[in-house]
Symmetry: C2
Subunit: 192 residues, 2 copies
């Protein structure tokens, strides 16, 4: 799917006029691999639809270590959750892990959202629920699994991402050091 | 707010007929303190609106320890996220921490949702984003804060909940033992 509009275009009751109205809100943005899209402390209402590429959110702790929170690949929505939900500044950084193409819904859409057609809002609910589900799974992983289980869980949950992610990002998502990850991988390989 | 309908009743463009149509989906349910609303493995599409009381989700690890994931107090929506997002069985338990009164939207609503009025869907998006924000904050807390910072953070994030929650639930949310929590509290008291 190359545009969020593809999600509603075939929906009964969605007219060409509606599609064009929604299209008016969309701008396009390209982000280079490694580029920051948002800093901690930013207040912005942009909502991103990933057409191509890969975004992630992360925090930096007092010791300067990165901790990866979540990913958004093609077809996912991503936003500054703190600002969207509570009008507060972002607690996280967002960067691009690959060259990424985005559709951007800008600030004004939050005023228009209640008047947007139901199918596109329903689509948005599903996408946000998917994020919530990933984040919930990450908490379960952090709280109750040992290091080897975390890695196995990650491989199962993100079979398509594991090849695309740098080792240090996987390690920062699992809350382990790259050295521990490397040991885990070579140990698993030997066992196969 | 005593009903999810209160969120749309004053919205321009929402007719009495619409309100009645949505009301047809709602049933009511009372849950006693300590009662389980959902077990791990359940597949159900119910969406709960908390009219009064307090729900929480949790997992049980291999050693039998409970880990609390999130809370839903008055005015919040709660659901089996795994089933809502991915049609898969629940990975968590949900129970009531107080006697709780719920509005329940049952299975059929997921088919009707795309046709529901935009304002109620917009309201739902905001509520799900709030959940996502809490869950993201919990990850940040688990990954990058020390035990004392976790407790301080929790007090700031949930000033209204901290008086209502049993100590062992707070400890299971912070991923510390009740003994460590007790030490933290008496240490903080002495410092005040």
């Amino acid at each position: 799917m190359n545009s969020i509009l593809d999600s509603i275009i075939d929906h009964p009751g969605v007219t060409v006029e509606t599609i064009e109205k929604v299209r008016d809100f969309i701008t396009y943005k390209n982000v280079k691999k490694g580029e920051l899209l948002q800093r901690k402390g930013d207040v912005n209402n942009d909502i991103y639809f990933v057409r191509k590429g890969l975004l992630r959110s992360y925090v930096i702790d007092a010791k300067g270590r990165e901790h990866t929170i979540m990913f958004a690949q093609e077809g996912r929505l991503f936003s500054n959750i703190d600002t969207s939900a509570k009008k507060s500044p972002s607690t996280v950084y967002i960067d691009a892990l690959e060259d990424t193409e985005l559709e951007v819904f800008n600030k004004d859409i939050s005023l228009q959202l209640p008047f947007l057609p139901s199918p596109i809002l329903f689509y948005a609910i599903n996408k946000v629920l998917l994020q919530l589900s990933s984040v919930q799974n990450k908490i379960i992983l952090l709280m109750s699994a040992n290091v080897s289980e975390r890695y196995e869980y990650f491989k199962e949950a993100y079979p398509h991402l594991i090849q695309r992610l740098p080792q240090k990002v996987i390690a920062s998502y699992l809350n382990i050091t790259p050295q521990v990850l490397s040991k885990l991988r070579s140990h698993k390989k030997k066992a196969e």
